[in-house]
């Protein structure tokens, strides 16, 4: 079976597993990827909410902080950010929108923006969001990230309004969240994996584990012919031939599959 078909099956299975509460199964695990427990079918907890709660209102609950971080660390230390490419339902959604984003990328304006030297710095936004909105604001002000999170809007707000008609009304954050949600939708349609690249705080937690994960994508530079096909197909926009355990790599395997010389490979311990 082709690698990308295997990945598709993996994503479908994880989407089902993520929503097992539809069958009455609710666990005490945090998801090792991005999904909202406000979804009526969610079977696990959003790790970001657990982290937010651990810092809420000048408090510090070490268990609520360590638990999601260790869970993410456990998955990350084995396969790095592979969960982004193989398991995350939001990654799966972006896989669907990726083809449109890929077409838009050929537009000269988009190409120009993509070539901006500042683009790599945008990737640090997710780390700022993680520290600023998931840790600092809950400690000093109030919950912030999960109150306006676009994924909560997508899998929580609207499904709840459909499943429980008339039972809920929008709260004061709804309008801000709606604006962010619209921007999120635009983003994933114009930039392939735009959310994963620039904004996902879970990706920010997982990214450093790419440096020590047991599974990685490696390039045999001696045999590489620099055709750059791998970089062209990379949904995360990585310069694949020159990467070494890149924190942005989601191990989707597109480069592995497309390399004409088979010099890009998955490598494991």
């Amino acid at each position: 079976m082709r690698l990308q078909i295997k990945r598709l099956w993996s994503q479908i299975i994880f989407v089902i597993g993520t929503n097992l509460a539809a069958l009455g199964i609710k666990t005490g695990f945090c998801y090792p990827f991005f999904y909202c427990h406000a979804c009526p079918a969610a079977s696990g907890a959003c790790p970001l909410r657990a982290i937010e709660k651990s810092f809420y209102d000048h408090s510090f609950d070490w268990k609520l902080l360590l638990y999601p971080v260790l869970l993410l660390g456990f998955v990350g230390s084995i396969s790095g950010r592979a969960v982004c490419g193989w398991a995350c339902p939001i990654g799966f959604l972006q896989r669907g929108t990726g083809n449109i984003a890929r077409k838009i990328r050929k537009n000269p304006i988009a190409t120009k923006i993509g070539q901006l030297r500042i683009e790599p710095f945008f990737r640090y936004i997710k780390y700022i969001l993680l520290i600023g909105l998931v840790v600092v604001t809950p400690y000093f002000i109030n919950f912030m990230f999960t109150d306006v999170c676009p994924v909560g809007m997508l899998v929580g707000t609207y499904p709840l309004l459909i499943v429980y008609p008339g039972k809920f009304i929008p709260n004061q954050f709804y309008i801000y969240a709606l604006v962010i949600f619209i921007l999120f939708i635009i983003l994933i349609f114009i930039i392939e994996r735009g959310w994963c690249r620039y904004f996902c705080p879970i990706g920010a937690i997982l990214a450093p584990f790419n440096k020590v994960s047991l599974i990685k994508v490696s390039v045999n530079k001696d045999e590489c012919i620099h055709c750059n096909i791998c970089s062209t197909v990379c949904p995360m926009g990585i310069d694949v031939p020159n990467m070494n355990r890149d924190p942005e790599c989601i191990l989707c395997g597109k480069c592995v599959e497309k390399c004409p010389k088979n010099v890009v490979r998955f490598e494991r311990i």
Partner: protein, 215 residues
């Protein structure tokens, strides 16, 4: 090459061991299950519960909810309290024309009590607090000030209490108080409908949030 391998194995073992230890020796799994997964996070969903009257988490005098309320909420269900006093025509009117016939209850209106009620598909605990009954525990008498949100000190006062997600990530008692005969032109039918709707909504909230409230 070997150095990175050693680091990888150490990192993996440290994380796996710590995670396993947390799951085995702490109650974090249950905490996350009851406090996050099994409760509908309304702030995550950017929603509020739609209820016919104004519910609040904030007690009228800033004091915590009495223990007997917490005990009932943890074990029995949502609560309808009726506060009454002697020489109160409206109290008698409500008891005789709504509470007793509609909820199928028989009681002496001068004695405080609480009872689980099942009627018209509703399940709740009815708490009758007769202020002038000398046998009424002080905690129950004092609860009037906890729920008198309008600071009216009027009778009868009905307080419906359930549990709800409070946007700080915790499940807390959530209540509303209604005074006298509610609105100037309310008839018995309308008042009965209001009670039914409130209790039904409260039951839904209670069922939805109980796992997160028990712990």
């Amino acid at each position: 090459m070997e150095k990175i391998l050693v680091i990888q194995v150490i990192v993996f073992l440290l994380i796996a061991g710590s995670l396993g230890g947390m799951l085995a020796f702490t109650d974090i799994y249950d905490d996350v299950q009851s406090g996050i997964v099994e409760t509908i996070c309304l702030s995550c969903a950017k929603l509020d519960t739609n209820l016919p009257v104004e519910f609040t988490f904030k007690t009228a005098n800033g004091k915590p909810h009495p223990d007997f309320i917490i005990d009932i909420l943890k074990t029995r269900g949502p609560i309808l309290i009726q506060f009454g006093e002697k020489a109160c025509a409206a109290c008698e009117d409500m008891i005789n024309n709504i509470i007793k016939p509609y909820f199928n209850l028989q009681f002496d209106k001068t004695i405080s009590f609480d009872r689980d009620v099942e009627a018209h598909g509703l399940n709740f605990t009815y708490v009758y607090i007769y202020i002038d009954d000398p046998a009424t525990p002080q905690e129950r008498i004092d609860s009037y000030d906890v729920y008198d949100v309008e600071h009216i000190r009027g009778f009868p006062m009905f307080t419906i209490i359930t549990i709800e997600y409070d946007h700080s990530g915790k499940i807390k008692p959530f209540f509303a108080s209604l005074y006298g005969k509610f609105e100037p032109n309310d008839n018995y039918e309308k008042m009965t409908k209001t009670f039914t709707e409130l209790i039904k909504n409260s039951e839904e909230l209670w069922n939805r949030n109980l796992p997160g409230f028990e712990k």
